[in-house]
């Protein structure tokens, strides 16, 4: 029984972090209708920022959130403004132009990181990196629990922002129908730019929270882009609540797969769920929650 509960805890905590990675992508997906394939690479960038702040300035990773999130917001804004928005204006047979551009942006980010930091692994060691507390014999990682708390808070904040604020309403309007929103006086280009920035900022938070318990090298982005993609599809495109469900589902699937089938099938479990959802629930969890 202890094995079962420990697996459950591991899955849920990891799922919280996954959700945070997924929300940014799903937001971008909802508003712009494209998959941001540089998502994991943006997270990598935030992780290097965190590493630099910790290693050279001695700033705690949790404080670095105040640096990495705004910085990545600006990066996201820049990417949208100078690489993606211009493509919108070009008539093209391929609407996937922007997706291809994000692939390119991702490659540039990876290679720039490799150029500056080399391929070597780095890690950030804090006092809480391997600290734990126990509840009824079940071990909780302090860093993961804090990350989970942050993920919940950020998601709740996000939800409130989208529902209650002016800007949030404009974002939802553009997501539902960009043309109609423009006719109502919403500046769709500006909304897209802000959304991209917010997506990048959210994944920056995920990266900064992940770094104390993981490690970092320039190629780390790719696997996380794939994870975010799976979560976005699981949750239903553009759904914030769906992304949380998707993230936790992926975390649980991986954890239980690893415990009861085999650690070497960890990644496979996530993808099996992915295919099952595509086959039997093709709109993702959004279909169930309606938000």
């Amino acid at each position: 029984m202890e094995v079962f509960f420990q697996t459950l805890v591991a899955g849920v905590l990891k799922g919280g972090l996954y959700a945070l990675i997924g929300i940014g992508m799903t937001l971008i997906m909802g508003v712009m209708g494209i998959i941001n394939l540089a998502h994991g690479q943006m997270m990598m960038l935030a992780m290097y920022l965190t590493y630099v702040c910790f290693h050279f300035l001695g700033i705690d990773p949790y404080v670095t959130l105040l640096v990495s999130v705004p910085c990545l917001f600006l990066v996201g804004v820049g990417v949208q403004k100078y690489t993606l928005n211009p493509l919108l204006k070009i008539e093209s047979l391929l609407p996937e132009n922007q997706v291809l551009m994000t692939v390119g942006v991702g490659m540039v980010l990876t290679e720039v990181a490799r150029f500056i930091f080399t391929s070597n692994y780095v890690s950030v060691k804090t006092s809480y990196s391997d600290a734990t507390f126990f509840i009824g014999g079940i071990s909780f990682s302090v860093a993961l629990t804090i990350a989970f708390g942050f993920a919940c808070a950020l998601t709740a904040g996000m939800f409130w922002f989208l529902l209650k604020t002016d800007l949030g309403r404009s974002i939802r309007a553009v997501a539902q129908d960009a043309e109609a929103a423009s006719l109502m006086g919403v500046n769709a280009d500006r909304i897209r730019t802000i959304t991209m920035g917010m997506g990048a900022g959210l994944v920056a938070a995920a990266g900064t929270l992940l770094l104390p318990i993981y490690y970092l090298f320039p190629d780390i982005g790719g696997p996380f882009t794939r994870k975010a993609f799976v979560i976005t599809i699981l949750g239903g495109l553009g759904s914030t609540v769906g992304a949380i469900l998707g993230g936790v589902t992926l975390g649980l699937a991986e954890a239980f797969g690893a415990t009861y089938i085999g650690m070497d099938y960890e990644d496979m479990m996530g993808l099996v769920i992915f295919i099952l959802v595509l086959l039997f629930l093709p709109g993702g969890f959004k279909r169930l929650t309606k938000v």
Binding site: E2, S129, F134, S141, E266
Partner: protein, 398 residues
């Protein structure tokens, strides 16, 4: 901004050109080296390349071979077998090297060895440790490091004489090296009458090893044996601490557990971890300690067994070149067969035993992290500190 940049570039290009011209003028003996200089194994590749250079400078400084300097031609295999193959082809056909050294990962080394044999150019393997590399009856392939199945030799004698455990759990990375060494360790455990209660592989790069470690905890083995590369090794130890897993000893099966980066990443969780290793600076071979000090002085960070293998490889090649009747691949192969030389890594002599041919035979060692330092603990004759065993429980550590 643009102009000074291009000026710098052209200066650099000119310098490079000048270098290659002057090198050609010196008419050195060309020796190929293939290592992973980029990619995930780059860290090991760098240590080995630095060691090759260190040895090269000493050999050339002492007058080279028959009055000629050795010239190393380095190629990057990026950790991929297909890239390794074409690197080997290039060295043989374009650079016309007489002998090749290096070979880090087992899968890449195996692919390269096949090319060397086909093209009849001797290849001195210094790290690739999959057993099958020297089991193919390839007469142009020599290996100076022990094969993967012999890595835990010292560990086995330590277990037999001191620990006498009953149960073992084995975790390994699903790579050629991980599978081959975990398999042979499991077989040896059975021979010694140990019960393997858990044996599981994982894919490198996982965030969370807890599902795997929970099972280890439930199985409660006396000994936890892990075959992992650097960062996975660090995470495994950190998460073992988080889950409060307390076997009587933690053992790493070479690779990641002996690198300084392991302690950097795992921190205090790395303390008391045992690891099989092929070399430490305290081994009783002439030049071992000197090599360690020279490396530290020149590159500013410590070296470990991979570096010693590369350093020794350069000396073995130089020795063969010295004895070769002429500087052709065939003559160097002939000279390598009769190698009998002492190096910082140990005595090198290519012999045949069991299914293996042209394989060097060496003892292995057991080291343990104690207070951030890697101490040799077994065999007793060369131990720098007594082994701390059984390791203290996590809750009893400071």
């Amino acid at each position: 901004m643009k102009r000074p940049g291009s000026v710098v570039w052209s200066v650099v290009c000119c310098l490079l050109l000048a270098c290659s011209v002057s090198a050609r003028a010196a008419e050195g003996i060309k020796v190929g080296v293939v290592l992973p200089l980029t990619g995930t194994e780059a860290q090991f590749g760098e240590i080995e390349w630095n060691s090759f250079q260190l040895a090269l400078d000493e050999i050339n400084g002492a007058g080279g071979i028959k009055g000629k300097p050795i010239e190393l031609v380095k190629e990057d295999d990026t950790g991929k077998p297909d890239v390794g193959r074409s690197a080997m082809e290039k060295l043989i056909t374009q650079d016309k090297v007489v002998v090749v050294g290096g070979g880090y990962s087992s899968s890449v080394t195996f692919a390269m060895a096949a090319v060397a044999q086909q093209r009849q150019v001797p290849f001195v393997v210094n790290t690739g440790s999959d057993d099958k590399i020297t089991e193919q009856k390839w007469n142009y392939v020599f290996r100076l490091n022990p094969p993967a199945s012999e890595y835990p030799k010292a560990l086995n004698s330590f277990l037999g004489e001191v620990v006498k455990p009953q149960t073992v759990a084995i975790l390994y990375e699903k790579s050629n090296f991980g599978q081959s060494s975990s398999k042979s360790f499991a077989a040896q455990c059975e021979k010694m009458g140990l019960k393997v209660v858990l044996k599981e592989g994982y894919d490198s790069g996982a965030v969370d090893f807890k599902p795997l470690l929970i099972k280890v905890k439930a199985a409660n083995p006396d000994l936890l044996y892990m075959v992992s590369y650097l960062m996975d090794a660090g995470l495994l130890m950190r998460q073992s601490k988080e889950l409060d897993i307390n076997p009587r000893l933690f053992v790493g099966g070479g690779a990641g557990f002996t690198l300084p980066g392991f302690y950097d990443n795992a921190g205090k969780a790395a303390d008391y971890v045992f690891s099989a290793t092929l070399w430490t600076e305290t081994v009783p071979y002439p030049g071992a300690k000197a090599y360690f000090d020279k490396y530290q002085k020149k590159y500013g960070h410590p070296t470990e067994y991979h570096g010693a293998e590369a350093y020794a490889c350069m000396y073995v090649i130089a020795d063969a070149l010295k004895r070769a009747k002429e500087l052709t691949p065939a003559a160097v192969q002939e000279a390598l067969v009769h190698t009998d030389v002492m190096t910082a890594f140990g005595p090198v002599k290519f012999v045949s035993y069991d299914k293996k041919t042209q394989q060097n035979k060496l003892p292995t060692y057991l080291v343990q992290w104690q207070g951030g330092k890697l101490e040799t603990v077994w065999p007793k004759e060369i131990a720098t500190k007594p082994a701390v065993y059984p390791v203290p429980k996590w809750s009893e550590r400071k």
